[in-house]
Amino acid sequence: MTPPQRQRRSTGAASDGVPAKEGELRNPERLFVIGGEGGGERADLDLVTLIVARADPPVSATPEQAALLRLCAAPLSTAELSAYLSLPFSVVTVLLTDLLAKELVQARAPIVRQKVADRNLLEAVMHGLQKL
């Protein structure tokens, strides 16, 4: 029995069939209700940007903001915040954009893939995995 056959593709050869900014389309009602005012601008946050609270929730904080601030008393990724709050990732980024502007949280950017990867980083990850 022979397996089915695939055809290789090359980098950048993409006609990139990504529908125009589809990921940017949001459910406006939900965004407005949870994200509040502020024009829907969002900070550039990755799923693994680590968020740390800089202060206790102020009295003016919404319940969502207060919950989020309490959650990230210790560093927590935006993905984990989304999971624990049961809120879509995009809604969490809207909440965080507001909290970042108010300097209530700090964002620690992830290390992303470079054209030439950082070998020290890769070695550190390997070392960590070996301990598993």
Binding site: M1, T2, P3, P4, Q5, R6, Q7, R8, R9, G12, A14, V18, E22, G23, L25, R26, N27, R30, I34, L45, D46, L47, V48, L50, V52, P63, E64, A67, R70, L71, A74, P75, L76, S77, A79, E80, S82, A83, Y84, L85, P88, F89, S90, P110, I111, V112, R113, V116, A117, D118, R119, L122, E123, A124, V125, M126, G128, L129, Q130, L132
Partner: protein, 206 residues
């Protein structure tokens, strides 16, 4: 939308909290068809119980896939399971298991672009569902390894035959695994890391 009192929000257990020294995170994406074992793999190596993040997909994305919702639905939710491994006190690794269909990928900003690399998890009973995933990764220049999750009743092909069928160059690792086992899942991740390391060494030389 209802939002429960913030006091009832479950947070990480005390032992699941990251130290304050955690400075940065990296991510690896595990991609494959439905039921291929992505979540099992995440769960077998994660230090936390796998969590789920979700994103809302609006009407524009509906209708392409018959499996999703009824015609009257205007938005659907796409979920992605993930886990975490603390590498050092400063560095954290996150593993995301994501559906194979590319239209899900752009829901999460830079899911693949920022990832160190990807694991394409395949089931030899449905090899062709992974074809498009590999093509997309190639187009985006995301380095990946192929892990064949060994289901008992799945056909077994020699690696050479699989490599020809998948049209993969010699340097891309293909390995068998049993994602239910932590050691096996860890080996897959190690294989990916060694592959990325070899690319980095090569890249530094050219």
């Amino acid at each position: 939308m209802d939002f429960k009192s913030s006091d009832t929000i479950p947070g990480p257990r005390t032992e699941d909290r990251l130290p304050h020294t955690a400075e940065a995170a990296v991510k690896i994406v595990i991609v494959g068809g439905f039921g291929v074992g992505k979540t099992t793999m995440v769960g077998s190596v994660s230090e936390i119980r796998p969590l789920t993040t979700e994103e809302t997909m609006t009407q524009a994305g509906i209708g392409v896939d018959d499996n999703y919702g009824s015609a009257s639905k205007t938005a659907t939710t796409v979920a992605m399971d993930f886990g975490r491994i603390s590498i050092t006190d400063e560095l954290v690794l996150y593993l995301f298991g994501t559906p194979g269909q590319e239209r899900f990928w752009f829901l999460w900003n830079g899911l693949f672009e920022g990832a160190l690399g990807a694991v394409v998890l395949v089931d030899t009973r449905r090899l062709e569902v992974s074809f498009d995933v590999m093509g997309r990764l190639e187009e985006r220049g995301v380095p990946f390894v192929v892990a064949v999750n060994s289901f008992p009743d799945a056909p077994r092909y020699p690696v050479a035959e699989l490599r020809t069928a998948l049209d993969l160059p010699e340097e891309i690792p293909i390995l068998d695994c049993d994602v239910r086992r932590r050691a096996s899942s860890r080996d897959v991740l190690m294989t990916l890391m060694r592959f990325l390391h070899s690319l980095a060494v090569k890249g530094a030389l050219t």
